[in-house]
């Protein structure tokens, strides 16, 4: 096909002519027989500049356009729009950066000018190899699959479910509520009313747009944003193994956490004596309003041990300090003359109200003892002796009852689920955010979101917030009737060159590439690919090319550089 290439050099007001002899550039370019027309303009990104460009394209019937101006970061989109309006394929356009990376960094005018020429020629030869890429549009489903029926999962479901959006809520146990459901009460200043969780469960059950699958597991998840397919298997005794296939536009993972196994470290003496209990067991005592020793007596003194498993796991679980305070308050309020000792490493009270809550506890006479670690916890007489270390000297205290606060750890089927949906885990074994800072609920799999403690220790309000965050992300990307536009500059695989070594699979962070055993080749899912080109770099057969950054296009630039 014969290419009509137009080249337009933008002066950007005084900025570029200052350092680059535009007329020389235009003159020399006009001598190239590849190009149909070369013109300059004082400021192409201005409105009349854009108008001028549009008219030029139409008048000269250009098929390809090169603009030499500022950085593509500034105006690539601007000019691509103009090309599109002028009825040209916007990808047959190349913006050459002769301002930032030429006029503004090369002091010598002659040098800058010849450099600009180099760049523009490179642009011209590159654009000749551009392909007219087409934007695709995909129909989407708007329903959502939520995995995990804890408070996070429920909250997500509630805020997602709507008149034209169904939510499938899958819980592997036989009841909703998760860990939060087991708590006697949530921290007073964070909502003392335990009803709250129950209410939410009720709301979920009564919401006709939420299908609840209890005693069920997700066995398979395929697809991408807007088009997921999942297999849910029921484990209810009457319908053992019954599977259901559902379609969804997005997936929310809210599989929560488990608790550190106190038996792992004998120092806590857990299991050796009935009066050494875990925080969760103590919650039950509160629920049943029976704070008693095994001998039925009320405890006269209780030690609350923080940070069990912090050293072992290598992170602070953030909430233990607070619920220990909660216990202290409860004890003081219900057994007025009980003696409460809190053994802590660092008090972690990161929320604005926490401190006051701590101060109140102090006022009630709770004793706070700093320690570096628990050395031993053993029975002595009818008391329990807790031996602890505080900067290098050990100390003892003996009490009737010991309550130990274990660290939060990834729930046991986390890794399995990660495998299933090919989601990355972090060093601690929790799910990994797409971006720890800016995308705290997203994952590399676009359309799959994570909320609550599946991402790591956090308190209930935070979990709820994240659930709302996931629904925010989903509601803004899955709008009924709207189509998704996948990235266009993606990788594509030339099947007759691919030898099926699947190296590309292992380097693709987004799981966008899969292997087709029948054809014996790797296949790119364009809806998932983000176009980084890592696969291209990894393919020894040269079977993969990244659209708009193909070998030939880049190589034209190289050759120009070497001229």
């Amino acid at each position: 096909m014969n290419k009509n290439i137009g080249v337009y050099v933008c002066e950007c007001g005084p900025n570029i002519p200052e350092r680059i002899d535009i007329d020389k550039v235009v003159k020399e370019l006009s001598s190239l027989n590849e190009v149909k027309t070369v013109k300059k303009h004082s400021l192409l990104c201005s409105n009349d500049g854009k108008k001028f460009l549009k008219e030029e394209i139409e008048k000269e019937e250009l098929s390809h356009v090169v603009v030499a101006a500022c950085s593509p970061k500034d105006h690539e989109n601007t000019f691509m729009k103009v090309c599109e309006e002028a009825g040209m394929n916007p990808y047959l356009f190349q913006l050459v950066n002769i301002r930032e990376q030429c006029a503004w960094m090369i002091p010598d005018k002659e040098e800058a000018t010849s450099k600009a020429l180099k760049y523009i020629k490179a642009g011209i030869h590159r654009v000749m190899y551009h392909d007219p890429l087409e934007k695709k549009e995909l129909e989407i489903k708007v329903d959502v699959l939520v995995i995990g029926g804890g408070i996070s999962g429920i909250e997500a479901s509630l805020s997602l479910a709507g008149p034209n959006r169904k939510v499938h809520l899958v819980e592997k146990t036989d009841s909703l509520g998760g860990m939060a459901g087991k708590l006697s009460q949530i921290l007073p200043h964070q909502g003392s009313k335990i009803k709250l969780v129950k209410e939410k469960i009720e709301q979920a059950k009564n919401n006709e747009n939420i299908n609840i699958y209890t005693s069920s597991e997700v066995k398979e998840v395929r697809g991408f944003l807007g088009n997921f397919e999942a297999v849910i298997q029921s484990n209810q005794e009457n319908e053992e193994g019954k599977v259901e296939e559902i379609k969804a536009g997005a997936v929310v993972v809210a599989t929560g956490f488990d608790l550190y196994d106190l038996k792992e470290n004998p120092a806590y003496g857990y299991g050796e004596n009935e009066n050494i209990v875990s925080a969760l067991e103590f919650e039950d005592m509160i629920n049943s309003e029976k704070i008693e020793l095994k001998n039925g007596k009320k405890p006269k003194s209780v030690a609350l041990v923080h940070c069990a498993g912090r050293k072992e796991k290598g992170y602070c679980s953030k909430v233990c300090c607070l619920y220990n305070l909660k216990f202290a308050h409860y004890l003081k309020d219900n057994l007025p003359d009980v003696e409460v000792k809190e053994l802590y490493m660092d008090l972690c009270l990161p929320h604005k109200q926490d401190q006051s809550y701590f101060d109140q506890a102090k006022e009630k006479g709770v004793e706070f003892i700093r320690m570096d670690e628990i050395v031993k916890t053993k029975k002595s007489g009818d008391k329990i002796e807790v031996e602890y270390k505080n900067n290098d000297k050990t100390d003892k205290l003996s009490v009737d009852m010991v309550v130990i606060a274990p660290a939060m750890i990834p729930s046991k089927d986390t890794s399995e689920l990660a495998e299933l949906m090919n989601l990355p885990l972090d060093k601690s074994g929790f799910f990994k955010e797409l971006h720890e800072m800016l995308d705290p609920v997203a994952t590399p799999m676009e359309g799959v979101y994570i909320t609550g403690c599946a991402l790591g220790p956090r308190n209930i309000p935070e979990s709820m917030t994240q659930s709302h965050a996931t629904s925010g992300k989903i509601l803004s990307s899955l709008i009924p009737g709207r189509k998704v536009k996948p990235e266009v500059k993606v990788s594509e695989i030339k099947e007759d060159l691919c030898t099926g070594c699947q190296t590309c699979l292992s380097v693709c962070f987004y799981g966008a590439i899969s292997y087709d055993p029948f054809k014996g080749v790797s296949v790119v899912n364009e809806a998932i690919c983000r176009g980084c080109g890592s696969c291209v770099g990894s393919c020894p057969s040269g079977a993969i090319r990244s659209k708009h950054f193909t070998y030939y296009q880049l190589y034209q630039e190289v050759m120009e550089a070497l001229r």
């Binding site: 950085s71 593509p72 970061k73 950066n97 301002r99 930032e100 990376q101 030429c102 006029a103 503004w104 960094m105 090369i106 002091p107 010598d108 040098e111 800058a112 450099k115 180099k118 760049y119 490179a122 797409l434 590399p444 500059k489 380097v507 962070f509 983000r530 176009g531 980084c532 080109g533 890592s534 291209v536 770099g537 990894s538 393919c539 040269g542 990244s546 950054f549 070998y551 880049l554 190589y555 630039e557 190289v558 050759m559 120009e560 550089a561 070497l562």
Partner: protein, 141 residues
């Protein structure tokens, strides 16, 4: 007297960090050696051995690959793979005595306009010290 040798250097800059860094160098009017020709790629991991090698063998005096600092990759892991591939190339050129100093990998973030200038100027300087790429004038290649 004949004028100082001016090398031809190809620079593959990742779109998100290094290219932006280069832009910043420009917009803060920093002088940068003009012997480097910038080629924009989406990620440093796009640069495969062939791009670097053929640039060298077809006569470029130096090749710079620049990307986000480890851990900052816009695509999370790209630059780690890029680094491995580069390590391999570096070693090969070392072992074969093909002037390994002519290829360089640098991490330049979007805010490091100054660093960009330093890196490029230094590299350009080193290369001009090295002189023209012997391969360019080597009829055996």
């Amino acid at each position: 007297m004949e004028k100082k040798f001016k090398p031809n250097i190809v620079g593959f800059l990742c779109n998100w960090c290094s290219y932006a860094g280069a832009d910043l160098a420009g917009s803060s009017k920093t002088d940068v050696d003009s012997s480097l020709s910038v080629i924009r790629v989406m990620c440093s991991s796009r640069v495969n051995s062939n791009l670097v090698l053929s640039s060298l063998l077809w006569g470029s005096d130096g090749v710079l690959v620049a990307g986000c600092h480890p851990g900052d990759c816009h695509y999370e892991q790209g630059n780690y793979y890029a680094r491995r591939r580069f390590a391999l190339l570096k070693k090969i050129t070392e072992v074969l005595n093909l002037e390994p100093d002519r290829i360089q990998l640098s991490w330049i973030s979007a805010s490091e306009g100054k660093r960009y200038a330093e890196v490029v100027n230094k590299f350009a300087d080193d290369i001009s010290k090295l002189g023209p790429n012997p391969i360019t004038s080597n009829p055996k290649v």
